[in-house]
């Protein structure tokens, strides 16, 4: 027998060595953030404000318990003025940009649901969530209060963090509910510790399917009334992670969006990102550039605590 028709024999002429899939599978991403939750405050837009910085004003109002204490006010004594406690925090917006360039050939050879300038524009706009998650995690090391340190994340450290918030500002206490953003490795440490607990009075409530659908894939449930999110953007200093537990009002962000782009060939406002297309005809190249103006800061240091546990 000879001249059988085989697949191997046809490759190169009648058959392809590989056929690319119609669909592109997405690699794992980590872009869940707290932007649309009550735990992070929007402090304003810098558009038309005369500065790239928003100054958040703070004052101790509506809770003065001293009245005439130490300021006179006996039956006929003149009462002295009390000093008003005030302060401020600056939230500085910064230009964040992300750019890609794709040739016409790369674009025209696309097949099925593939890469083209518009898909890249969508990718840039959705990447804003990852940027927000990254910058949120970057502020955690700024909280003065700290629990943990030379240990892994345990139930004891968890309770210390809750109690630190409950005793914040000389026991005035930060109002709940609280949220916690942990590094995934810290969450694993916490799970191990919970598993070893003999006391089941406080149990861990894992995230339900509905909760994950609503809050994102990195929502992990709640423990002792504190909502847990994980983020790979939680930083470390080589020996310790810098995660945080905090209440609403602890962290705030400011944004900006260019109102008009004179000279831009094509610009799209995609959520918080301004995406522009730029064309280099001599190179048959389309550039897709996204800009987002964002600043994030600790607004009230008393409302958060850093959870530092070993790497």
């Amino acid at each position: 027998m000879a001249n059988e028709i085989t697949n191997n024999g046809l490759v190169g002429d009648l058959r392809l060595a590989q056929m690319i899939s119609a669909e592109i599978r997405l690699l794992l991403k980590d872009s869940v953030n707290l932007r649309n939750t009550p735990f992070v405050d929007f402090v304003g837009s810098i558009n038309g404000m005369g500065s790239d910085t928003i100054r958040v004003r703070k004052a101790f109002l509506d809770g003065e318990d001293g009245f005439s204490e130490f300021t006179g006010g006996t039956e006929d004594g003149a009462v002295g003025n009390k000093a008003l406690v005030d302060g401020h925090v600056d939230v500085v917006c910064k230009r964040n940009s992300l750019a890609y360039a794709i040739t016409d050939l790369a674009s025209m050879t696309g097949m099925g649901s593939d890469i083209d300038p518009f898909r890249i524009a969508e990718h840039i706009s959705k990447s804003y969530d990852a940027l927000f998650a990254k910058l949120t995690a970057a502020v955690f090391g700024g909280f003065t209060a700290q629990v943990g340190s030379a240990s892994t994340l345990s139930v004891d450290v968890w309770v210390d963090a809750i109690q630190a918030l409950e005793a914040a500002a000389s026991n005035k206490g930060a109002p709940g509910p609280y949220v916690c953003v942990l590094h995934p490795a810290q969450f694993a440490q916490l799970q191990d510790s919970i598993r070893n607990e003999a006391n089941t009075a406080v149990s861990y409530s894992p995230a339900s399917f509905e909760a994950i659908s609503a809050k994102g894939s990195h929502y992990k449930g709640s423990y002792m009334g504190v909502e847990i999110y994980t983020s790979s953007y939680v930083t470390d200093n080589g020996s310790n992670y810098a995660a945080a537990m905090f209440a609403a009002g602890a962290i705030g962000y400011a944004t900006g969006m260019p109102a008009s782009l004179p000279g831009a060939v094509e610009a799209m406002e995609m959520g918080e990102v301004m995406v522009e297309m730029d064309r280099d005809a001599t190179k048959a190249l389309t550039k897709v550039v996204g800009h987002a103006y964002l600043g994030i800061a600790i607004i009230d240091d008393d409302r958060g605590v850093e959870i530092a546990t070993t790497v």
Binding site: G141, T144, G238, A297
Partner: protein
């Protein structure tokens, strides 16, 4: 017309060796007088003619790292990912933090990576095996440096009140474990916690007698 051929040679390319890590921002260290950690060091103790090594606990200042990221905590953008931390440092100092200038203490190491530099503390060693970055941190050396900043007067004030709060925290854990001390593993944990609390209290007592001189024993 004749042409003289040139010998063929492969194009010489020099590939720069880059660390396979993501670029990150430079940083500075800071310390707040309320941030402490209790850590054990090996100490040589001489009794009579014999010298033996004992594990002795010390309260060590928890020196914390803050990256200089434009747009975060009031850091202004200078150029690209370069930020000016001036106003941030000023604010921290107003709130009681001690700023440890990286230019003065030389604790930042940097490596070239794609799209920038990877900044890490000098106590972190970085190796690459099979394109994977293996990092290890010499915690003991870092903590000894932290202690040396007490001795040279950089970190002030040293307030034992915060150490007492730490020992009170350990009391809570002891109280919780006591409920289940009939379980051998819990009993063992409980004894360890008792030992830590005792060591914390004895350190506070020693500090009250000797002052910051006590830290000279470990640096």
């Amino acid at each position: 017309m004749s042409f003289t051929p040139q010998p063929w040679a492969p194009i010489q390319t020099t590939q720069e060796q880059l660390l396979p890590e993501r670029a990150n921002h430079p940083f500075f260290y800071k310390w707040h007088p309320s941030n402490w950690t209790f850590h054990y060091f090996d100490k040589e103790v001489t009794k009579g003619k014999s010298t033996k090594t004992e594990r002795v606990g010390y309260f060590i200042p928890t020196i914390r790292l803050e990256r200089i990221i434009p747009g975060v905590n009031g850091v202004h953008q200078i150029n690209g990912e370069q930020g000016n931390p001036g106003s941030r440092i000023g604010r921290l100092q107003q709130e009681g933090w001690v700023y440890l200038d990286p230019a003065k203490y030389q604790y930042v190491h940097q490596y070239r990576v794609r799209n920038g530099r990877f900044h890490c503390p000098k106590w972190q060693s970085v190796r690459v095996v099979g394109n994977r970055v293996i990092k290890s941190f010499d915690r003991d050396a870092f903590l000894k440096w932290s202690a040396s900043l007490i001795v040279d007067g950089t970190l002030q004030p040293i307030e034992p009140h915060f150490w007492e709060l730490e020992s009170l925290k350990s009391n809570k854990v002891i109280g919780r474990l006591q409920n289940t001390q009939h379980i051998p593993e819990v009993k063992q944990q409980l004894e360890e916690k008792y030992k830590i609390r005792e060591d914390m209290l004895s350190f506070i007592e020693s500090f009250n007698q000797k002052g910051i001189e006590i830290y000279k024993e470990i640096i």
